[in-house]
Symmetry: C2
Subunit: 399 residues, 2 copies
Amino acid sequence: MKFLSEKAKRLTPYTAGLQPREDGWIKLNTNENPYPPSPRVFEVLHNFDTSRLRLYPDMEATELKEAIVADENLDKETTIAHVKNWCKTAVAEGKLSEKVLMARVKELCGPLTDEDFLNVGNVFCANGNDEVLALAFAAFFSGKERVLSPDISYGFYPVWGEMFDVEMQFVSLGADFSINPLNYVGGNGVVIANPNAPTSLVLQLADIEKILKQNPDGVVLIDETYMAYARAQSAVALVGRYENLLVTRTFSKSRSLAGLRVGYAIGQPHLIDGLRRARDAFNSYPLDLVAQKCAAAAMSDREYFDETTAKVIATREKTIASLQEIGCNVLPSQANFIFMESSDAPGLYEFLCQNKILVRHWDNPRIKNFLRISIGTDEEMGTLCRVIKQFREESKCEK
Amino acid sequence: MKFLSEKAKRLTPYTAGLQPREDGWIKLNTNENPYPPSPRVFEVLHNFDTSRLRLYPDMEATELKEAIVADENLDKETTIAHVKNWCKTAVAEGKLSEKVLMARVKELCGPLTDEDFLNVGNVFCANGNDEVLALAFAAFFSGKERVLSPDISYGFYPVWGEMFDVEMQFVSLGADFSINPLNYVGGNGVVIANPNAPTSLVLQLADIEKILKQNPDGVVLIDETYMAYARAQSAVALVGRYENLLVTRTFSKSRSLAGLRVGYAIGQPHLIDGLRRARDAFNSYPLDLVAQKCAAAAMSDREYFDETTAKVIATREKTIASLQEIGCNVLPSQANFIFMESSDAPGLYEFLCQNKILVRHWDNPRIKNFLRISIGTDEEMGTLCRVIKQFREESKCEK
């Protein structure tokens, strides 16, 4: 098209899973949570001070960051020490945008407290984990070569690579779809989803640490979209020790807030400042006030989170058992979806569609015999298993 | 910083106006609306179906687009004809991402109606006008030379230029801060805020049309953030006739929803598809469901919009008259802010701060003797005028 930039012409945009507009579908295609968000989100919306919406939101999402800091059990003392140290360096170098901002805030609002330091600290929030990741590509990978990522992973990584002129190097997964940490060495950046999608497999913390050590000159992005569902420790535990680690997370899955678009990153302050630089070169106010307040409320409800997460995991295990019983090969999932082999995956996809069940299938040759199926309620997964069983029986008859 | 990309290092991020965290300020620095949003926004929030937030939002923001189409009086027949024609061309060229999407939607949800065509039509919504503009830079200007824009205008334009490797050419405003359309010829793109900020001056439709004709090979972006307050016709009236026109607008000012982050663009479908391409290479779901529904409600309340807009305009005229009475030079504003000359603008800025009034000042030599002051309530502007009067009297005494 005549007016498109060369970059926009070359791009292969990401295609998200379908959102059918009519009711009646069992929707297992975009890894949404089958349970509603915490009742505290309801409370926030129903008591919202609408008049406040006339003003711009807090661009640093301070209240939300505080809720995240509390939940992630980040060590406050360490964080404050980090930030103060980083501010000092930046002032010494005489080139800190944040410093200018903080000075102005101080001027207007009085001396800075430890909270202020914390606020510019280890957390960055944006409009969904996708925006966090896009800004991370802009801040840390733009124009670089040899940014390492698995060849089968989240389909948006190569798109951001194109968008920000990154020369990605895609590393093959093992025959069992596992990620071998030894294959990630000397990158100018690394992007790994952990657990990985669509494979559903997880890396343990020791392997993440290996990758951090093997790539000291590049930012290692660990995308923990699905970590709540894994028997593995979050890389957040390593943030204090690795200056090259950035962990990203989302409210879309385990917090049941895909419709609200909130994601965040945790890393040392120099990385958070890098994200802020990229943000302020794109859109200074990525998170609206309603999203900030609702996400903070959801984050504060640990009990509800534990309960719904446990339910999804229980349903996952039950589903895998049922599918194995009828002879299906399912990878040992550590996410809120399963990756299931089928010799006729496109046929099964169609059959499921005919039965108003929506799952996800990719044409990529390596995974063309697999379907990715989100974990719904027990009832939905029961229906799924019955329909798959029926498909398999009918297929046998045809042979 | 070691990990930053070269681009991120080079960037000069945008600095938004300060958002003080303590109460008690008369906040006239970021052109927010002094009045709360339409009561219909309150209704939406207080009756919100929270459980729906577990699902991803409609990435096309269909309901919101419909509200926009209704309010902007876009000719539905023309729009549908445009879109159908564009789909046909794209199918013929065999390279239409949207076509694939629409085919899949059709497959699942039945035949496409005229509404479906309208939905992919002339409107694009994103997370604030800033995101719309950023995506427009990515889609239409990235990597190009000679994209024309006034040398004094919205401070984010040059930042997006840096972010997306655009060689901007900044055209000097006239001595009276006016934009001369004859200076905008043969660009690979044009970006003009109309009314312009911080000057508050407006171009009439005939001048916009001149610029469209003089730049047939580039997209002409008309940023109508402040158009609701102008005695001038919106360029939306020209969308049907110019394939190179993209008009952007916001809910942040005249709809009192700065805290909600919603902006939109109106243009012919090939430009809307270009924006969609850029979006899907950055963040597929830019608008959360709450923002979509609240913005649609605000858009539907034309009466409230007319009423609050008229109040702001009346206060503006009264303020200008008061300031002129005490000898101030104020440009003939067509926006919800005024641009006022002061021989000691930094001094006045400080004096206003001491009196808990926040306005905006830039160090740019050309406008260093000016302050940009948002229009608040009558009461707030009365206080402002008194404090300015006091400053002028004290300054005289000192001389």
